[in-house]
Amino acid sequence: MTADPSRMRPLASGIVFGLALASASAIHAQTPDPAQAPVQMLCDRLIANMKGGAQLGFSGRAAAIGPVVDRAFDLPLMTRLTIGPQWNTIGASDQSALVSAIRKLTVNQYAANFDSYDGQRFTVDPKVEARGADRLVRTSLIQRKDQPVAIGYRLRQSGNGWKIIDVYYQNSISQLATRRSDFARVFQTGGAKALLKHLDDLANRAGH
């Protein structure tokens, strides 16, 4: 039926209008950008970890967040980007060891930092920005006693979904850039082996 409101009775036009609205909002509700999903999953798990806090203990929190980190982040790509072009000069076994080291560091830091709950919550901005082929999802950590903290995630398509490749603190400080800078000297002076050792120390330091 063609919807020409002038010919319809008010009730009918009301129904049509209502349906139109309903379907519009249904479409709207169905379109959360798929890039939001991994971010939302990470935020939910972090809050759960904070609520579990002391009961879970460090290792409990690490065990809970580990699989989420695996699903939400593209750890191999993050590792390659952190090392930069010299990645290609590293042997395969060291390459995979570096990915594992970055994973352990990430997991341990999440387990150490998000360890107790005091009414915090995350809001995920429904507006997803495009950065070339990548997506930028902005979140905010709302705290009771402190100012909200803006945390942004850059995601890249990976297989059927999206995975996080960088994290921005206060929308301006990139974790990737900071790590690149932090790791560069150790890598340049001691190579992959030295970096592996230092990353392991760093991860263990976070874990106690």
């Binding site: 390659r80 980007l81 090392i83 930069g84 072009p85 010299q86 990645w87 290609n88 000069t89 590293i90 042997g91 395969a92 076994s93 060291d94 990430t106 830091q109 999440y110 150490a112 930092n113 998000f114 360890d115 709950y117 005091d118 915090q120 950065r131 070339g132 903290v149 945390i151 850059r154 890249r156 490749i165 960088d166 994290v167 603190y169 301006s172 400080i173 990139s174 974790q175 850039a177 900071t178 690149r180 800078s181 932090d182 790791f183 560069a184 000297r185 150790v186 890598f187 340049q188 002076t189 001691g190 190579g191 992959a192 082996k193 030295a194 230092h198 990353l199 760093l202 330091r205 976070a206």
Partner: protein
């Protein structure tokens, strides 16, 4: 409970502050608040040297990082500040914290920040930001009158929080690049542009008002107070920096540069080139570069070959800054 699992939270807060330290900056020499980054004892000592120990000879050949042509000098100043902090600054700051009660400390901090609002205002005007200038002016007026000469930050509760601003930002607004990164003795992280800006900001009140701002004892006194206060405020952040980095010097540099680039971008509305900007970078996967496959096999599993390309590699990244770096290829 703390926030950034990924990026050391504290240093993120601390680093941008050098600029914020503006309050302390009546005297250019003043911003010892910058000492904040200077730092905390124990862990650092292990952190950096451990690296050096890994390959003492090679470290001499390492080129400076992009955006840090004075890295040698800067690193020397970083370790100088670290020792100074350990021996004098931190103990003095902890003493200040013990002796001076919290309300008195925050009152002093507010009052000094309030005295700097005219400098913020001037920079708002120079940046052609009338809205900001009006807010700064209102803030100054409210705090000076109702906040008892600035001792209480009443305006903050009225939706007019303190905003950092200074000549470094104004210069950036008009296209002046940051220039080389500088790690200054006592003052901490800066850049050529920001250091010049700090001197300019510090000259405003002494020249425009005179007494007491032009008195050396006043300058030193306020510098010491605000420096100690900042050191107290950032104590845990500084500890975080050392606890969560392999190379605290480089981490702090990166955070400082990113944060300053964001400050300038917020004023101009366009991204400011920063050696550490990943936001505007297309982040090409190094493994996807054409050289990736062939190069990968030969040096498999060894440490030594990795060090060699390093010496050859820096030129391309240096020349192109990080944006092109990933695609520059290893050789």
């Amino acid at each position: 409970m703390s926030v950034s699992a990924l990026v050391p939270l504290g240093l993120l807060l601390a680093a941008p502050d050098p600029q914020a330290t503006a309050p302390a900056t009546q005297a250019p020499v003043t911003a010892p608040a910058h000492e904040a980054p200077t730092s905390q004892p124990a862990p650092p000592a292990e952190a950096v040297p451990a690296t050096a120990a890994a390959a003492p000879e090679q470290s001499r050949h390492v080129r400076h990082a992009p955006g840090d042509p004075l890295e040698g000098f800067n690193r020397a100043m970083f370790s100088f500040n670290t020792s100074l902090d350990k021996a004098i600054v931190r103990p003095a700051a902890m003493g200040y914290k013990t002796v001076v009660p919290r309300p008195a400390r925050s009152g002093l901090r507010n009052a000094l920040a309030n005295l700097n609002e005219p400098v913020v205002f001037l920079n708002d005007v120079l940046q052609l930001k009338p809205g900001n200038a009006f807010r700064t002016f209102s803030r100054f007026l409210i705090n000076s009158v109702f906040g008892l000469a600035g001792l209480f930050d009443v305006a903050n509760h009225e939706g007019l929080p303190h905003r950092k601003n200074g000549l470094g930002n104004t210069l950036g607004r008009y296209g002046v690049k940051s220039g080389p990164y500088l790690y200054l003795p006592v003052l901490g992280p800066s850049s050529l542009r920001d250091a010049v800006g700090g001197v300019g900001d510090g000259a405003v009140l002494p020249n425009a008002v005179g007494e007491p701002f032009d008195r050396t004892d006043y300058r030193i006194g306020t510098a010491v107070v605000s420096g100690l206060d900042a050191r107290v405020q950032y104590d845990s952040e500084i500890k975080t920096l050392y606890d969560t980095s392999l190379d605290p010097y480089a981490t702090l540099r990166s955070v400082y540069q990113q944060s300053r680039a964001a400050d300038i971008a917020a004023i101009t509305g366009k991204p400011e080139a920063s050696p550490d900007d990943t936001m505007e970078d297309d982040l090409k996967d190094p493994a996807a570069s054409p050289e990736a496959a062939p190069v990968q096999s030969p040096p498999a599993g060894t440490t030594a070959p990795e060090a060699t390309p390093t010496e050859a590699a820096p030129p391309p990244p240096d020349a192109t800054l990080p944006k092109a770096a990933p695609s520059a290829g290893p050789k």
